[in-house]
């Protein structure tokens, strides 16, 4: 089992690439392939940008984001992303209607949709004034493609 790895950085866009590099190298060490890592990167960007924009910037709050990478007993990658911003439950977001044409299509909402679609498990809890979002990505060849 891998030793949990943690990174804490300011909740700003400047932290995006350092966070992504951190998670990418952890995932690679756990044996994830480039295709899966691409999906992890995408989900992670969407979660982080959401926190940076909505939990912090729009509410004039400055704060950190903390990511903890671990592996569970089934060799799945477990990412816990914590922030101290405005409480936001990912499951309360309205899903975009992806069948609409350019005119009717709403700008936004797609990021969260990607996270739910690409990750094997998504969990949210509000604990000690922190938003804690957990993403689980299975690491077996059998479940590597769920689409």
């Amino acid at each position: 089992m891998a030793i949990p790895s943690t990174i804490t950085l300011p909740g700003t866009l400047d932290s995006l690439y350092p966070f992504m590099d951190f998670v990418t190298s952890f995932s690679r060490e756990q044996g994830f392939g480039s295709e899966k890592i691409g999906e992890i990167e995408l989900a992670l960007e969407e979660v982080l940008v959401n926190i940076i924009k909505h939990a912090y910037k729009e509410c004039d709050i400055e704060g950190n984001i903390k990511i903890t990478c671990t592996q569970d007993d089934k060799h799945s990658l477990v990412l816990e992303i914590a922030d101290w911003g405005t409480p936001f439950n990912i499951f309360s977001a309205r899903e975009p209607d992806i069948s609409l044409d350019i005119d009717e299509r709403q700008i936004g909402g797609l990021g969260i949709f990607f996270v739910k679609k690409l990750m094997d498990e998504v969990r949210y809890r509000l604990e000690d004034d922190q938003n804690k979002l957990t993403l689980v990505i299975h690491n077996t060849h059998l479940s590597s493609d769920k689409r």
Partner: protein, 108 residues
């Protein structure tokens, strides 16, 4: 991200390499906005060198497409690869936009 533009007939071919993410999307959108301000209204976004696109990039594309609609303009796509192709599929962008295999096919 690297953007190259070229004009072929009435179409502006915008070739994007690298990543369109939350950091680079504003610049990508600015380049398209400038071309629209210059009077261009038909675009081919050639993504054969694009490795990654997130919702920030799709947001830029959608807002550009919405600006072009009243000008009778449009955006075509070519060369979508691996993860970019997947993102277009999941988001439904693959059905709301016209997508060609290659740049040559799109310009026919």
């Amino acid at each position: 991200m690297e953007i190259q533009t070229a004009k072929e007939k009435n179409t502006v071919v915008v070739s994007v390499k690298g990543k369109i993410d939350a950091v680079t999307a504003p610049e990508f959108e600015k380049v398209l906005g400038k071309l629209i301000a210059d009077g261009e209204n038909t675009f081919l976004l050639n993504f054969s060198g694009l490795e990654y696109i997130s919702s920030a990039g799709l947001r830029s594309i959608l807002s550009t497409a919405k600006q072009l609609k009243p000008k009778s303009g449009r955006i075509l796509f070519s060369g979508l690869q691996g993860p970019v192709k997947d993102v277009f599929k999941i988001s439904g962008f693959g059905t709301i936009f016209k997508i060609f295999e290659t740049r040559e096919d799109a310009l026919k």
